[in-house]
Symmetry: C3
Subunit: 354 residues, 3 copies
């Protein structure tokens, strides 16, 4: 693929694409700016990596048009775009090897008790229960288990050893990574007089809308009644816990090992940091960012707000608090000094009085 | 099921059940108070939800007899009980659809190297190793792996893709959710002179007593020697880590993503919050509550105590500490003021002296 | 095995082994010092357990030569070594029952699309994709999924329901516990103008070097480009998250539920505590210890340093900070007192002046 072709390809997704240097160079692969070789295309979006521009052996570099850059070497092109990261992501799609790991059709060792469209593939030892509706072009990898009464939309990929409990509804273009568990019982037990617990049947479901991606070994529990809902476009990383009756709004992103307790509602376009935790029965409005490892104990609704800390607070408060902490040493020093002055003053006063 | 029948059914589990309104209304399903429809029964236990009582379309509502409530509408009944949550849980059991996802017997694709009673069901592609004892009415879901020398009691359910390592002993009425791993090697390595580690063989076992529920993707490691024990009635949520040689006492509840390091003993009837962590080799007595995200670094024994924070402290200390924190801003202000007064006093004294 | 034989066996691994008491006692098994029975060998490395030395019924005890100890009873031997823990670990290897759970060869229900050496074993319903290279003496347990283009070295054990995504390279003597997911897509999405996200193809791989052990349900993501690398001898506990493009240096140990964000590099011989979290794109040098539940937000390079807290700080700073915290109560008290004295001084000055 020549640089000129790459420019044309990028123009399908990006408004302006300017080539500095030759547009006739041949590109065979992608690489990282630090160690790309001739014939590879790399990218620089972050000014921290600007320094590599003069050193790299990449034959082409996608760069943000806000970056400072010198001239490309001979046989090198800089491709300037507004959003170099998005541009490179688009290039990666072009160069990414197709995952053709599943043969067409249903592997003879798979057990499928519901109809599977001819365009869909089911791997070895996978299981699809009764009364399911499986969409077109699905990729059900080996050893996936889909229990009864599930709906899987079109163009979904469900990776090995994932489990979809009965009654789960999954939209189109959903990716579920290996070992994820969707629809296990919510954690609900009624305390009894003798200190034991009685299980509360969990008869609700999980609904996952279109274009969601769910990480490896993540758990999303079914609702006690009603539904646990993951809205369109949500991206969830690995080892995340979403408890019963939660909802996560459109295009929210949740990093690894975060946990959301029961019935908590997270709005649209939020960013949730890794290992953050939420108590149950609270609500987070749209467009809120939660820092990694935060412990969120109450509802927040102010769009654009950044919440952080344990217990979590709006960033301004949290930073003030951290500043106080940082000055505690000085404070102790100052108080020692004042105490000394105070006692000198007392002595002097005593002397004057006598 | 008519309201009168529901009352009689509830009386099997609850001491007093009073119906306000008609007991002749027909109930077909359960619903949530916010959006229940005619023909459905809902519940209100929490005063926060009292407001819904006048709005709901539910045909019957189970309410706590401590709540204020007006008269039910025509064709509506309020069913008053002491513990509305427990009452509703009991109702849910009656209305919950039976999970009949596993056909009777052993699926032909399952591999069972130990005898399975006729009353038990084994799903597709499940594996049961040698020398196991499987109880009556077990439900072993598809793709479960049970290695050699395990004992599984009566009335257990083991959900898809769960793994039970060899030698694990599981009691009666135990539920293990999808992807859980019981009996993997404890994390023990002896440091060597060259900085490498030598694995310490983990030759102990995991013992899970009756009526335990274990969440999806939770890990309970086998002991180095002896046993890791989960006592009767313990409820463990998803993605929890229980390390080697731990024990968890009767009817203790552990929320999602909590982690217990090796050889730590947790007493009976404790409540462990989500994402809480425990160092190894400590002991938590009976009836202690640990707040979410706490970092527990030492033993606690006082029954009824609430431990919270990082590092964790008894609630009273923790609240005092948090109050100090909250007043740091004022404190800095006060000290600035005092410093000023002090310097004024010095000046005045200077003036008087001269 | 007689005590004399145990001494000889230990001498293969340890420099000096001294027997106090009879070397003719027969040992059949291992036990814990608290409850070992006659015929068993136990160990005491930690002075906390010294008290058990006079009480134990163990027929032999491996003890650190730094411990105080009385005389063994009749029919009892104390075996003194420099490192009692390492010595006992070595003994455990001798007494540990062999895990012979997999029959020789390939189970007829397994699907193997690549050649498997005769010395290797593949369990029921396991899946090995195309174009893989499987080493000698591998143990691939039931329901493991290894996708296409993987390399598995010699003497590896991969436990049930683990998933190895395509293109993963695994060295020799690597153990991967049940449910672990190696090589799932890194969590990378480019934000779009409308607030949605576009997936960034993850075309890199995971490389796991020799002698690594990976815990149950742990996730190690593939790189966006290039590799995520786990170096020789690394030991990773359960439920750990290692994100795309991370690297972990030789002989580093990572405890359960820790999480490392994308592109972060951890050096060799580090100790990472449980539930610790790392932001992305930082670097931790060799020989650094990170406390449990720490939130590490920047790079550290000083060998031997101990980092702890949220946000994490070098231990000395963190301890100072904690000491300040602990004295806040006193501080408030002191300030109240000073304020009072100050106002008395003012009054006295007023009186003198008038």
């Amino acid at each position: 693929m020549r640089v000129a072709e790459i420019r044309d390809y990028l123009l399908q997704a990006l408004p302006v694409v300017e080539v500095v240097g030759s547009d006739d160079i041949e590109i065979q692969n992608v690489g990282k700016i630090e160690n790309a070789k001739a014939g590879e295309i790399a990218f620089v979006a972050n000014p921290k990596y600007e320094k590599y521009l003069s050193e790299t052996n990449a034959s082409a570099v996608i760069i943000s048009n806000k970056l400072n850059h010198g001239q490309p070497k001979a046989n090198q092109a800089f491709i300037k775009v507004e959003d170099a990261y998005a541009g490179f992501a688009f290039i990666l799609e072009r160069f990414a090897p197709k995952r053709e790991e599943l043969d067409e059709g249903i592997h003879p060792t798979a057990v499928t008790l519901s109809p599977v469209p001819e365009t869909s593939r089911v791997g070895a030892n996978a299981y699809i229960g009764k009364n399911c509706r499986i969409g077109e072009r699905a990729k059900i990898y080996p050893n996936v288990v889909i229990m009864d009464d599930c709906v899987i939309g079109d163009d979904c990929a469900i990776f090995p050893n994932a489990t979809i409990y009965g009654g789960t509804k999954i939209g189109n273009r959903v990716t579920i990574h290996a070992g994820a568990v969707i629809g296990a019982d919510g954690f609900g037990f009624a305390p009894q007089k003798d200190g034991s617990y009685r299980k509360i049947p969990q008869i609700g479901a999980v609904i996952i809308e279109d274009d969601v991606e769910i990480g490896a070994n993540t758990c999303i529990d079914r609702a006690t009644m009603g539904e646990t809902r993951i809205a369109e476009g949500v991206k969830i990383d690995n080892l995340v816990q979403i408890a019963h009756n939660c909802s996560v709004g459109k295009h929210t992103v949740i990093a690894a090992q975060a946990g959301v307790s029961g019935s908590t509602k997270i709005g649209a376009k939020c960013l949730i940091g890794g290992q953050a935790g939420f108590v149950g029965h609270i609500e987070i409005g749209d467009g809120i960012t939660i820092g990694a490892q935060s412990g969120v104990t109450k509802s927040y609704f102010k769009k654009g707000e950044f919440i952080r800390g344990y217990p979590a607070r709006p960033l301004r408060e949290q930073l003030r608090q951290e500043a106080y902490q940082a000055k505690l040493g000085e404070l102790f020093e100052q108080i020692r000094r004042m105490e000394k002055e105070l006692s000198e003053l007392k002595n002097r006063l005593q002397t004057q009085a006598s």
